[in-house]
């Protein structure tokens, strides 16, 4: 790791800032990537990693900050501009055309042609050479739809190399790979590093990071926390840097008698995402569900809510086993889900806030199919007051509200149903501190009313501070339980959430 200190870095970003409505995603972040190194970009969900990647990929423009490649200032106003500048971003979701072959995808938009005709054999030879060089000797004429995720990734990297990329950005490249495939990918990356590429590597899996990265840069809440050579870091230290805070009075305390089991889930299963999940939530209890993105927490919640069909397992509410054919059945049984993504799943953005509120309550707010508008308005007003939802008027479209108010509208629509089981999926994501606090109070109120609350959160302080018990999930399974959430440390959770797949 004897990189020449004085040499111009391959990529330098200074003072990058970016705000989205309601969120400051990046607050003046500096970054330096040298040729022939792997820099790991670390941080919790929402720390600003994806925003930084999107800026690098030309997908979003920064509000402030300058960027230099080999000392020359560049402006990446589009993905094309980024590619031309030599930056290739390989997103978690691959962007290949499934119907085209590996070769066609590699050369898509950069075809080798003479007089408008593609020179097929040259492309083929070049693709085959590249793939072999990366230790993935697959036939370039195979349609991409038939390739495994790992092979598709190789195709994406080959595409970047054909495009003369010198900076390779990999966003969670191993999320969908088997341990053997991960080993293969890391070997390929070492090969590319030796060729002088600069690689920015984003991953939640610290083991990989320690295997591949030369340096690590940690972001928290959109700000730069530290950049250190890996040699100076330990696993514990990285987690501390990522998590940062210690638990404080951020989370209001509650005193609730925890009673008998209300919601019992046994052997729930669906594909690779949910593999044999069992747990119980008691009366008046808040059960936290921690884990990394993709650990299967949201998928589990969707099964309990009937949004997806479970392949196996039982869901029992107050001793009665439920047969869920869809969310309708779950709602009727008294289960509600505040989805992770409010905009695409929680709200009909084009409809008014009051109409959104009424949607799950239409039967209650109507008579023989006719809306009882007076009752609707009265019920809505009651919640607006109780939850302190700030509105211009009840007919403004839901899309015009801030994140916190949107979440409160979603909450109002479920409170009106008096659900017995309330599942919160990332309830405070993208929500400012004040509104967060109000939502925490509401969670406490629900528990105090004897309901069973399931709280999914990637925000470790939140999940530890708000829950009575915490379950940790990894790769579709419950990998651990922390019985005394208040006394637990975030490190404990992180260890359970990130333990190597091979170890199990």
């Amino acid at each position: 790791m004897a990189a020449p200190v004085e040499s111009t870095p391959l990529l330098r970003m200074r003072g990058m800032a970016k705000a989205y409505p309601g969120v400051q995603a990046l607050r003046g972040v500096d970054l330096e990537l040298r040729a022939g190194e792997v820099l790991a970009l670390l941080g919790e969900n929402g720390a600003g990693k994806s925003t930084l990647i999107k800026i690098l990929g030309g997908a979003h423009a920064p509000d402030a900050g300058v960027m230099e490649i080999e000392g020359r200032p560049v402006q990446l106003e589009s993905p094309t501009a980024a590619r031309r500048a030599g930056i290739a971003v390989i997103y978690q979701e691959l962007h290949l055309v499934p119907g085209l072959s590996a070769r066609e995808n590699i050369f898509l938009g950069q075809e080798i042609s003479r007089g408008g005709f593609i020179v097929r054999h040259e492309e083929h030879a070049r693709a085959a050479a590249l793939l072999a060089q990366m230790g993935a000797p697959l036939d370039p004429e195979t349609p991409c739809a038939e390739l495994s995720v790992a092979q598709q990734q190789v195709v994406e990297i080959a595409k970047a190399l054909v495009g003369q990329a010198r900076i390779l950005v990999l966003d969670e490249p191993t999320a969908a790979l088997s341990p053997r495939e991960v080993t293969g990918l890391l070997a390929r990356l070492r090969e590319l590093r030796a060729q002088g590429l600069g690689i920015l590597y984003i991953s939640h899996r610290l083991d990989e990071v320690f295997q591949i990265a030369d340096r690590a840069m940690v972001l928290r809440d959109g700000a730069h926390v530290a950049t250190e050579p890996m040699a100076n870091l330990t696993r514990q230290r990285v987690i501390e840097l990522m998590v940062g805070r210690s638990l404080d009075q951020e989370f209001p305390k509650r005193r609730t008698e925890i009673g008998a089991e209300r919601l019992v889930v046994r052997g729930l299963r669906r594909g690779q995402k949910v593999r044999d999940v069992s747990f119980a939530v008691r009366r008046g209890e808040v059960l936290g569900l921690a884990g990394l993105v993709g650990a299967g927490r949201t998928e589990t919640a969707r099964l309990i809510f009937g949004a997806d069909a479970a392949e196996a397992g039982a869901i029992v509410l107050d001793g009665r086993e439920l047969r869920l054919r869809g969310p309708r059945d779950a709602i009727a049984a008294g289960i509600c889900l505040l989805t992770e993504d409010r905009k695409s799943q929680g709200l009909v953005l084009g409809q008014s806030v009051q109409e959104n509120f009424a949607l799950p309550n239409l039967a209650k707010l109507s008579r023989a199919g006719w809306m009882d508008k007076r009752r609707e308005a009265a019920a809505f007003d009651q919640h607006v007051e109780k939850l302190q939802i700030r509105l211009r008027d009840r007919h403004q479209s839901a899309g015009t509200l801030s994140g916190g108010n949107q979440q409160k509208v979603v909450l109002a629509k479920w409170l009106e149903r008096h659900a017995e089981v309330v599942i919160f999926d990332e309830p405070t994501r993208g929500i400012d501190v004040g509104a967060r606090h109000e939502i925490y109070h509401l969670i406490n109120q629900l528990a105090a009313q004897g309901k069973a609350v399931l709280l999914i959160s990637s925000d470790l302080p939140e999940v530890l501070g708000m829950s009575d018990r915490v379950l940790v999930m990894r790769e579709g399974r419950v990998t651990g339980e922390i019985a005394d959430a208040a006394g637990a440390t975030q490190e404990q959770v992180m260890v359970l959430a990130t333990a190597d797949a091979i170890a199990a």
Binding site: P327, R328, Q345, G350, L359
Partner: protein
Amino acid sequence: MKSSWHNRLLTEHGSLLVLLLLCIYYSVVTWSEQHPITPRSGRQLARAIATAPGAHVLIAIRPTAQDRIFASALREELVARGASVIEPVLEGAPTDVRATLEELGRAGQRVDAIATHQPISEWGPLQPDSLAALAAQFPSLKDMRVHRPASHHWPNFLTRENLLNVINQNADIAIIAIGMTLVIIAGGIDLSVGSLLALSSVSAAVVIHHWAGGAQASVVGLVGCGLLAILIGAAGGAFSGVMVTRFGVPAFVVTLGVMMVARGGALIVAVQHQRALSGGATEGTPEAVKVAAPAFGALGNGAMLGIPNPVWLMAALYVLAHVVMTRTTLGRRIYAVGGNPEAARLSGVPVRAVLVGVFALCGALAGLAGLVDASRFEGGRPNAGELYELQVIAAVVVGGTSLAGGQGRIFGTLVGALIIAVIQNGLNMAGVKSYEQKVVFGLIILAAVLLDRWKKHRGAGAA
């Protein structure tokens, strides 16, 4: 939200404004001399003629109902004012006028005035030189003069007759457009409406002919067949809905298929019917399936209080649909399904059932329009409703409903349908050929869609 009021005016009532401007425009360009042929103009004419008592007046009209009403009012007023009306009232063609006048001249009957209206006053026998020749030949006709009601200026476009005609002609499209609005708000599209119209109308006509007693069909039988027509349309729509929701086939493709199947079905039924009529002697041709029952025409050709029945039907359905969309849980669900199907599903809305229901409703309305069409033409026409799907979608889009789903208004569609009808009417009046009109309509649709994009863009900018 600085520019909120004119923004709202544009986004919510923009199409109404366009309709108004169009009406004003056509009123101005069709401003012309009017020669009314009404009881009122008849009485006015009588007062103008009967200044001297005892004048001998000949009334000349054409053999039409409108002229007879005019003539009877005219005669009544003349008699009341002491004029002597020559009997019988002259009714016929120009040659009849000449013949009658010569006959009266030969008989020595004195004629002081010929009371008629503008079209007849332009006829050859009533021109000054012809009248002079008659006066020279027959002394009893020497003081004869032609009188017609006073004219006034008024736009041809803005007459009750023209306006009612415009609406009546487009009532079927407007009726189907209700269903299409619902489908599009729910996030779908239905290309099969024109063909379902034809299939329903032909099927109903065949059933009336063979099973409901043909020309002697009872009213109950006719109503039953009408319901059948609606049901056939509904079944076609429900089929599309099921294909879309159960098998995830895009609505565009499903309804394209249904469109072709239904059109072919309508033609097959018509051809088979013709063949059966000839006792199997001929191949059969895709002619209209005649319905001889006299009561059958009432729906399409009858009128109440001077307003054609299809217009009543259309108005009633628009009011009903508006109420459903704004005041019922079904309306809420339709908007929610179109706005965000996943959020709607996770809120417990039966998304599939709503979609199937909306497609079925759209089909039912196409079936009803088929019934109106069959009634109007007194037979089921297998080629009826061709390209209606496009006109209907155009009306919906022009009316401000977003093709992306989730947003739209029923009365917006009515305005859209009227805009298209009025433009068509105006182009007809201006003598623009039907094939040239297609260019205009294509451009209108593009303009409407651009306006929709622009609105959305502004909406997103404001949010």
